[in-house]
């Protein structure tokens, strides 16, 4: 980054942090700038990385007429700009939704269900490991019981579900702790930027 870029970046960083004191014009400016730049950037990227290589080049240079299909679907999407076009836009939405549903079915079945089943069915580790393997199995069955909807949580099933919720809470606690860790890391990096790259009071990387 050039010094001018560093100063702009530092200014914008401080604009955002000023929100911690209270909502103010600097923050509002930064927020609106952010919305515009982000939306504009996404558009530019889609143009350069999708519309040019996947529509323009194959159509104009290579004369692949098949490209007319996605182009037509895309234009149908734009028909939504008018109230009467809603019906036409549905066709494009239907295609889009169909593709991603179709990808999801075998994708989830394989990588999320079968992979986990296969691993859960692995023989127990020897020694103390077996205790852990057994706990994992019990927790797994308990949480599955919790997510069983067609029976009331009573009797053995209720007890299993109760156990399941405790396992869930420990897992949530773990995620929680890690999330705190992640956000703190991001703040550290921001402060490093301000102190090192902008103010030069920290040694360089």
């Amino acid at each position: 980054m050039t010094p001018a870029q560093t100063w702009i970046a530092a200014f914008l960083t401080l604009c955002v942090f000023s929100f911690l004191y209270k909502d103010n014009p600097f923050y509002r400016f930064a927020e609106h700038l952010f919305v515009g730049v982000a939306a504009g950037y996404l558009l530019a990227v889609q143009w350069q990385n999708v519309l040019i290589p996947n529509v323009w080049t194959p159509l104009v240079r290579d004369q692949q007429l098949l490209v007319l299909v996605p182009l037509a679907l895309g234009l149908m999407m734009l028909a939504r700009l008018w109230d009467k076009g809603a019906g036409i836009a549905r066709w494009a939405i239907a295609f889009y939704v169909g593709i991603y549903s179709g990808v999801a079915i075998p994708g989830y079945m394989q990588a999320q269900i079968f992979a986990q089943l296969a691993d859960a069915a692995k023989p127990f580790a020897p020694g103390w490991g077996a205790v852990n393997s057994a706990l994992v199995l019990i927790g797994l069955l308990g949480v599955l019981a919790y997510f069983f909807f067609s029976m009331p949580h009573e009797g053995v099933h209720g007890a299993g579900a109760r156990l399941g919720i405790y396992f869930l809470m420990v897992a949530f606690g773990a995620s929680f702790g890690y999330t705190v860790m992640a956000r703190v890391s991001l703040l550290i990096a921001r402060v490093q930027f301000l102190l090192r790259d902008w103010l030069h009071v920290l040694p360089g990387s």
């Binding site: 990227v45 691993d119 995620s175 890391s185 550290i188 990096a189 102190l195």
Partner: protein, 285 residues
């Protein structure tokens, strides 16, 4: 108003100041607390370390600047490790804004280890569409990337000789800040059986333990702390380790806030000054 109520109604800006100080002070006055290596990071290191010199790995750096704090230090550390071991790197990103970051990581790491572009690494840059790219590499890498980021045909790059699918790559290393990691597991690992080492943000880390257990992922580097551990393993002092003092202190502050908040509430429970519960409030499940 008793002291407990006063404490509970403290201005949140005082807490913000506390957090700010918790980050700034240790950065200015580091004590360099020790970093212990955890088993999952060790496993990631070992998996990469076990590759023979001359192996080729695919590294996808799938993150944008807002979370580079967590992923850039580990990208540099992993790349340095590869270069040091003479493992050739095919690098790419699935995010347009990741191109500058990936280039930067390669630049820092290659300079530190004396690696050379097109001999020790190739930079493919950005391509759009997660699944499209991942399946594309599984079928025909040159179909996806006829040329590298700088326009050099892959066919004229010596280290790319014979490389055209996951089958010719010893490992897929994903340094990811998003669901791209799930797709790499689903496609590169699930469909094409590439061994995967994953580096991700700390938030994502706990979600991948089932995949570690099922060996769909061989090792896991989580967040800035994971990067710090990796830096220790390859014996360098980077941004990961530099941040660890502040990380420790702020964690301590957050824990204290939880404890104090709960203790204060406990002290007032049932007392005359107890804050009335909001209508509709129920215990969280």
């Amino acid at each position: 108003m008793g002291w407990v109520e006063k404490l509970l109604s403290i201005d949140r800006r005082i807490i913000f100041l506390l957090v700010g100080a918790g980050v700034i002070v240790p950065l200015l006055l580091p004590v360099n607390l020790p970093v212990t290596v955890t088993p999952r990071v060790q496993a990631a290191y070992d998996a990469i370390d076990a590759l023979p010199p001359g192996s080729r790995v695919l590294i996808s750096m799938d993150y944008e600047p807002e979370i580079m704090a967590e992923l850039m230090p580990m990208s540099i550390a992993v790349l340095r490790h590869c270069f040091r071991k003479h493992i050739q790197v095919v690098a790419m990103t699935l995010y347009p804004a990741g191109t500058g970051l990936g280039e930067h990581a390669l630049d820092v790491a290659s300079r530190a280890e004396g690696a050379v572009r097109n001999r020790d690494f190739v930079w493919l840059g950005y391509k759009s569409g997660f699944q499209v790219v991942m399946i594309g590499i599984g079928e025909n890498l040159r179909g996806m990337y006829p040329v590298d980021f700088y326009g050099t045909p892959l066919d004229s790059i010596p280290m790319m000789r014979g490389v055209n699918t996951y089958a010719q790559l010893s490992m897929m290393i994903n340094l990811s800040g998003s669901s791209a990691a799930d797709y790499w597991i689903q496609f590169a690992q699930g469909r094409y059986h590439a061994p995967i080492v994953l580096g991700c943000t700390a938030v994502m880390a706990t979600d991948y333990y089932p995949y570690l257990s099922s060996r769909q992922v061989l090792g896991l580097i989580g967040g800035m702390k994971g990067a710090a551990e990796y830096e220790r393993l390859i014996d360098v002092f980077g941004d990961g380790r530099r941040g660890m003092d502040a990380q420790s202190l702020v964690h301590l502050i957050v824990v204290l806030l939880v404890v104090v908040g709960n203790a204060a509430l406990f002290a007032t429970r049932g007392g005359p000054g107890a804050p009335a519960a909001r209508p509709g409030e129920a215990p969280p499940r």
